[in-house]
Symmetry: C2
Subunit: 247 residues, 2 copies
Amino acid sequence: MEIKIANNERIDQLYAEDVKIIQSKDVFSFSLDAVLLAHFASTPAKGVIVDLCAGNGAVGLFLSRRTQAKITGIELQERLADMGQRSIQLNQLEKQIQMVHLDLKNVFQLIEADSVDLVVCNPPYFKESATSHKNPNQHLAIARHEIHTNLKEVVQVSSKLLKTNGKLSLVHRPERLVEILNTFQEFHLAPKRIQFIYPKKAKEANMLLIEGIKYGKVDGLKLLPPLFAYNDQGTYSDEIRSILYGD
Amino acid sequence: MEIKIANNERIDQLYAEDVKIIQSKDVFSFSLDAVLLAHFASTPAKGVIVDLCAGNGAVGLFLSRRTQAKITGIELQERLADMGQRSIQLNQLEKQIQMVHLDLKNVFQLIEADSVDLVVCNPPYFKESATSHKNPNQHLAIARHEIHTNLKEVVQVSSKLLKTNGKLSLVHRPERLVEILNTFQEFHLAPKRIQFIYPKKAKEANMLLIEGIKYGKVDGLKLLPPLFAYNDQGTYSDEIRSILYGD
């Protein structure tokens, strides 16, 4: 079977995971956020994983290297879902991963409530408002701004999908920490692990990873060691290099 | 005037601040927590500062070097309040600082509601329960366990003391982050800055510093750069040395 790669697309490789991913900067490219989310998530050995706001499917592709679980990516944008499906074929992972073009509101048409072991999500980070500065490229604006979904909906749908003791792993922005924790509590997800990512030493955090457990105990939150994206020389830190390249 | 130092007491000095503090390991000694709390707090140039759970008064003594504000330490344990008052005399700071032996529940006998610019607090960290492992030394148990006060009361009293836009700076344990943020919200304190302290690289955080602003805006939380207490050699990190010794 031949896999079509459009003119404005390229194939990137994540070396540490030996995964090939079809990318296009015209619509969306996976970033460090997706790599760190996949690295952070506690994967079940088997069972069911759902990737909400899956984009071009990068998180599911990375996770497939660590688990036998079936992985379903849910993506609202048809163009991205199609790229994701072709990346799955390129890696010959059709038996483990599927990419579905679907609004996450409608995910229960496809996947039963209370049936999922792990939900991962790299959602739009920025609140939608009349004055918010959005990317004129509609594909990128939808990926970054809460235009078609928002934090509350993502957490609500995730919690409904999960089995008791199932886990949600989310990457988001630190300035929304309070709202994230409130929403986790509202939908019965007990925060268990949080990790902050700092661009470099002596800078404020610009990313957070958080894991919640459905109907989990409220106590026992762990704050994982901080991760620095870049070192003083402006290149990836040793920790990030190890995650990206397996050095 | 002669200041009495008991046999089981000693005088410690915080070099960076040039402050002398009467200490006794029999009842309580200030620790890195107090130093970091004082360092973290945003001090008003003048006005009123209250230190709740003041212990031997270390936080107020450190803060006095950075502000003209009047500082009142509130301490439940008479023995500690007395040590604190003698330390104030030792540093000739009687005009700026006072130490009061008082249960924080009764602080409004002394200080009006809505009148304070900054509250600092290094409260007992550990929940009180029949099974909790407490120090047999009652002085230390009261300082560490929520025997006579608890997080909710501390935050409630702090918020009531503060003016609108007044600030609470608190040091606590990361595993209680969710409860801290919930309690801040309950008592109208908007979290503005959080800093996590890690014992060393690649370890989970064991301390957190948090600042809330009374009736502040909910957005705009900053996650400050992480602090590591010790370096790989097991001695204080450069950042901590600088805070302790002014190196």
